[in-house]
């Protein structure tokens, strides 16, 4: 790691101010991505702004939705009785992230802001049509994810909470990397008041994306059979040391059918 300054503001406003004051500042939530990146000297922030004391953790169940504070850990989401009751697929997804050590440090806000193309939460946010509230505005998931490691967030803008509408049917299926447990392909299928959505993570060159062909088919008939013949082109998919784009294209179909079958 390079040397850097460290601040631990005690509220959100101070955190935003600290980030706004220095273009080279970086926010750290759970640190599960940032600290390895700093260790590899892939990033050289002047100051790291620790969000631990900003009071952004917590889960509330509303009428037909779940709202999760940005600093809520994956373990807290996985074990939340409210999340398990309202959107069990979301609790299950959180319980599949990384390992126990990661789930106790990593946060939903950190995961969404980082937008790792193989992360799990972006699939849930996109499929459920979540609203991401920041220190400046409310952003629809459709507008939030803007490509690999890229989001609509501005440098001095922090996620404060994420609201997930309840789903009548939802399920997440992940084919995980056996070592890192990131998604080689993860598919979140959700049927909400807004309709059916299928979000795919781990596979897209531009990060998480909606599978519109599957959504169309499932809107007519929410069954695994309905998407059995939907072909996913491999062209825009990611190929790397873990899997080819063709294998990922194939897995999207498999995981989607399993998610639908499990959700139905």
């Amino acid at each position: 790691m390079y040397d850097f300054a460290y601040q631990k503001p005690s509220n959100v406003a101070d955190a935003v101010a600290a980030l706004g004051a220095d273009p080279e500042a970086k926010a750290v939530a759970g640190g599960m991505t940032l600290i390895p990146v700093l260790k590899q000297r892939l990033n050289r922030p002047s100051v790291v702004v620790d969000l631990a004391k900003t009071g952004l953790a917590g889960i509330t169940a509303g009428a037909g939705s779940i709202t999760i504070g940005a600093m809520t850990t994956h373990a807290a989401v996985a074990h939340s009785a409210d999340v398990q009751r309202v959107i069990p697929a979301l609790a299950a997804l959180a319980g599949l992230i990384g390992d126990e050590q990661v789930r106790h440090r990593g946060t939903i806000g950190g995961s969404l802001a980082n937008n790792d193309p193989a992360a799990d939460y972006p699939a849930a946010a996109l499929a459920l049509g979540a609203t991401i509230t920041t220190t400046k505005r409310a952003i629809k998931a459709d507008d939030f994810f803007q490509g690999m490691f890229t989001t609509a967030l501005e440098p001095d803008e922090l996620i404060t909470k994420v609201e997930f509408p309840a789903a009548t049917k939802a399920n997440y299926q992940k084919f995980r990397n056996p070592a890192s447990r990131y998604a080689i392909v993860g598919v979140f299928v959700a049927q909400t008041a807004a309709g059916v959505r299928v979000a795919v993570t781990g596979a897209g060159q531009g990060g998480v994306f909606r599978h519109t062909a599957m959504e169309a088919a499932l809107s007519k008939n929410f069954s695994a059979d309905a998407i059995a013949d939907v072909v996913t082109p491999a062209d825009d998919l990611n190929g790397d040391i873990h899997a080819s784009s063709e294998y990922r294209a194939h897995l999207i179909g498999v995981m989607a059918r399993r998610a639908v079958a499990a959700a139905a």
């Binding site: 990397n177 056996p178 070592a179 890192s180 040391i241 873990h242 899997a243 294998y247 194939h250 897995l251």
Partner: protein
């Protein structure tokens, strides 16, 4: 099978052998107090750091260390120029020959950097950050050269050459053109043409295995202190501190007697810590700086610069009669050596057909250099690789002739007197007993579900003997200290204490076993080759017997009788013969209390060069389930039978088997070195190098088959290694039985299995 001993029967008459007490060094390991390589900090220690090549293959045009040396806080900067040149000669038996001209170049690159991560220079500084800054200030000018990673590509006539003057050894007449083939080997018995002519079914196939790393969890680490008079000490985590001393002294150009090496606790080795990487560098940095220097690798350095085992490209052909007699076998084994010669291909050749009685057989091996880290030993080095090929073909043959694959192995099993392709006939049984143990296992006939398959395979490993030393001291209160020169990786201190307590007839808790440094016990070869319980155990028992003789002599003195008139029984000296019953027996404690009056301290030392080690045989079966839509393989059950001679500490013997099997499962399904087009390793960390974790696995059932080795006082055979030989083929065979497709390339990762499901049957054409 007459000499197979029922376990309960074997243990009859033993008090400690065959029990599993808590290890003497256990508590510090569960409380965090045990000191491993990186835990030692000598006063005034500097931090060492190594600058490594970013290129797979490059000529080193120049190295300018002046700016680094001038950085405040830097105490020493070294390059290969600081180390003496070594003669170009292969030393030692061919199977494990060492050429120090190569070794010194692996420690620190000279003319060329031969792999990414190859050490190029090193610094010692007052802190991590200063050391890192100093490395960044070393100016190395490289001329990047074309590289070669794959073994077949490295053997191609137009391949980039790692050494412009390398002429293949073992070929007559010697080739005139240099190549990357360091050595060709051939071992043969009988006549192949006659053999294959007698076969009803012949199957041949090509196989590939990936490069895998030992992946011990403790990265290499050491501290060194070399004083102005040239004498020094090293504290290091290794599989052999005597080897560290010998290698470091040789590479430093210092007398062995000037160096003392202390064994730290070792966090796993599996063969990979039998050689040196850091110790000579730390010692040279200390020598130049005048301060102690600590060097520890990062995980990335471990992956990039320390010994993985070879990946290989192989061809195997075997013939069988329709009633299941193996009549001929042929194999070609091409092994990546990494950047310097010395892959375990000779072992692969020798072990390939060793479990079987095949009258006509040949194994041809090639040792091939390429731009990867130099291969180091990994658990039964070489044998698991050729076993993958041979045991796969055997399964295909069994299927073709409609014979149970274990019955085929049993029918052709090597026994005492069976010839080998390497000369001596088998001198031990043990193999058929492991096969029979699985045929008798209820799980072997248990029904399987959809997409499930069962596969079996066997393996062979020589096991080692060799030089070991032990000393024993009886303390004034009758407690006993056993010191050996064998680093304890898997609980061997417990086995040493068990054998000492058993021989002496005292309580296990009365015996304390330790690992002594190079200054405190006689020369002892590395903890490797599954040799410690056998060879070092023999030394311990020898020392104990000497102690017993001495105790009897002292009792005779106390009683004023002839020493021959004293016997040692059940931890006591008893008068015998004419004096029987004349005196009350003297306990160890009684005699120890009178040590001063009977000649002083009660101590003994024993050194052995143990021969007569028996080989290890293992036969295993597993049940797998294949997800037909993703290609993911799940291990449902794994049963591993192994001939262990006699289990001294059964729980740790089981642990060796379970650990070896799981490493084999990782090798079979997930683990591999992945290189990019520039010859750089793409997965140098546990994030992307896929070791099995607890949730990937079922319990591993170890079946201890005990066919005692008469050459060991308690019948022990080496147990550490052979267990890793069968899993890859066992799993491939199980996969074939699940999906009807033969996988011939490791790892059998989900994409490859799915491609096999969707593609033509590779085995069908055979």
């Amino acid at each position: 099978m007459d000499d197979q001993v029922n376990v309960a029967e074997a243990r009859k008459g033993f008090k400690w052998v065959g029990t599993s007490p808590v290890r003497p060094d256990g508590v510090p390991k569960v409380t965090g107090r045990a000191m491993y390589g990186a835990d030692m900090k000598m006063p005034g220690t500097l931090v060492g750091k190594i600058l490594r090549s970013p290129h797979a293959h490059a000529r080193i045009v120049s190295i300018d260390t002046s700016r680094a040396a001038a950085l405040p806080g830097v105490r020493a900067v070294i390059t290969a120029a600081d180390f003496p040149e070594q003669n170009f000669e292969y030393i030692g038996p061919e199977r494990v020959a060492v050429n120090f001209w190569h070794v010194t170049r692996n420690i620190m690159a000279r003319e060329k950097a031969l792999y990414e991560g190859h050490a190029v220079a090193a610094v010692a500084a007052i802190s991590d950050s200063v050391a890192a800054a100093a490395c960044a200030l070393i100016d190395v000018q490289y001329e990047v050269l074309p590289h070669v990673i794959d073994v077949d590509a490295a053997m191609a006539p137009d391949a980039p050459l790692l050494f412009a003057d390398m002429i293949t050894r073992g070929v007559e007449p010697a080739p005139t053109r240099p190549s990357n083939v360091s050595k060709r080997l051939e071992f043969k018995i009988g006549d192949l043409d006659t053999g294959f002519a007698a076969a009803d079914v012949v199957i041949e196939h090509e196989f590939k295995t990936a490069t895998v790393h030992q992946a011990y969890i403790e990265p290499h680490a050491c501290s060194a202190r070399i004083e102005a008079d040239g004498q020094g000490e090293i504290w290091a985590s290794s599989q052999g501190h005597f080897a560290v001393r010998a290698l470091t002294a040789k590479l430093m150009g210092m007398p062995v007697g000037d160096l003392r090496v202390y064994p730290a606790e070792i966090g796993g080795g599996f063969g990979g810590k039998t050689v040196v990487y850091l110790e000579p560098v730390a010692a040279m940095l200390s020598k130049k700086s005048g301060f102690p220097v600590r060097l520890a690798m990062s995980r990335e350095e471990v992956f990039r610069a320390t010994g993985p085992t070879s990946g290989a490209s192989m061809w195997v052909k075997i013939g069988v009669t329709k009633d299941g007699k193996l009549v001929a076998a042929d194999g070609v084994f091409k092994f990546q050596a990494g950047a310097f010669p010395g892959s375990p291909v000779m072992n692969a050749c020798l072990c390939a057909f060793a479990p079987y009685d095949i009258a006509n057989a040949r194994a041809v091996g090639y040792d091939v250099v390429c731009n990867r880290p130099k291969a180091a030993a990994y658990r039964a080095p070489g044998s698991p690789i050729s076993a993958f090929a041979v045991e796969s073909v055997l399964d295909m043959l069994a299927k073709k002739i409609g014979m149970d694959p274990l019955e085929l192995r049993l029918k052709n099993a090597a026994r005492i007197g069976t010839p080998t392709i390497f000369g001596p006939k088998h001198a031990h049984n043990g193999y058929p007993e492991t096969v029979q143990a699985l045929l008798d296992h209820p799980g072997y006939r248990a029904p399987l579900g959809k997409n499930q398959g069962r596969g079996a395979a066997s393996g062979y490993w020589f096991n080692g003997g060799g030089e070991s030393s032990a000393t024993m001291q009886v303390n004034a209160d009758g407690t006993v200290l056993v010191a050996t020169g064998s680093p304890d990786i898997g609980g061997s201190r417990a086995s040493m204490a068990i054998m000492a307590a058993e021989t002496l007839g005292v309580d296990y808790k009365q015996v304390r076993a330790i690992v002594a440094d190079t200054g405190s016990v006689g020369y002892t070869h590395v903890t490797g080759g599954s040799r410690v319980t056998f060879a070092t155990g023999t030394a311990v028992v020898d020392a104990t017997k000497t102690i017993i003789k001495d105790l009897c002599r002292r009792a005779a003195m106390i009683w004023d009788v002839d020493p021959e008139a004293v016997v040692w029984e059940d931890g006591h000296a008893r008068p015998a013969g004419a004096n029987a019953g004349a005196f009350p027996p003297l306990s160890l404690k009684d005699i120890a209390a009178k040590a001063a009056q009977t000649g002083g301290s009660i101590t003994a030392a024993a050194s052995v060069n143990a021969g007569g080690q028996a080989p290890g045989f293992s036969t295993q079966f597993c049940d797998v389930e294949v997800d037909p839509e993703t290609g993911k393989v799940t291990i449902l059950r794994f049963v591993a039978a192994q001939d262990v001679g006699r289990a001294i500490h059964p729980a740790y013997v089981e642990g060796q088997i379970q650990g070896g099997v799981v490493q084999g499962i990782g090798w079979a399904l997930n683990e591999e070195y992945i290189y990019n087009a520039r010859g750089l390793l793409d997965n140098p960390g546990f994030l992307d190098y896929r070791c099995p974790v607890a949730s990937d696995l079922p319990m591993i059932e170890a079946v201890l088959v005990e066919v005692p080795n008469p050459a060991h006082p308690y019948g022990a055979k080496g147990v550490g290694e052979v267990n890793i030989c069968p899993p890859m083929a066992a799993i491939a065979n199980a996969i074939e039985n699940a999906i009807g497709r033969r996988l011939t390339e490791l790892p059998m990762s989900p994409p490859k299995v799915l491609a096999a499901i969707d593609g033509p049957d590779a085995g069908a054409g055979a």
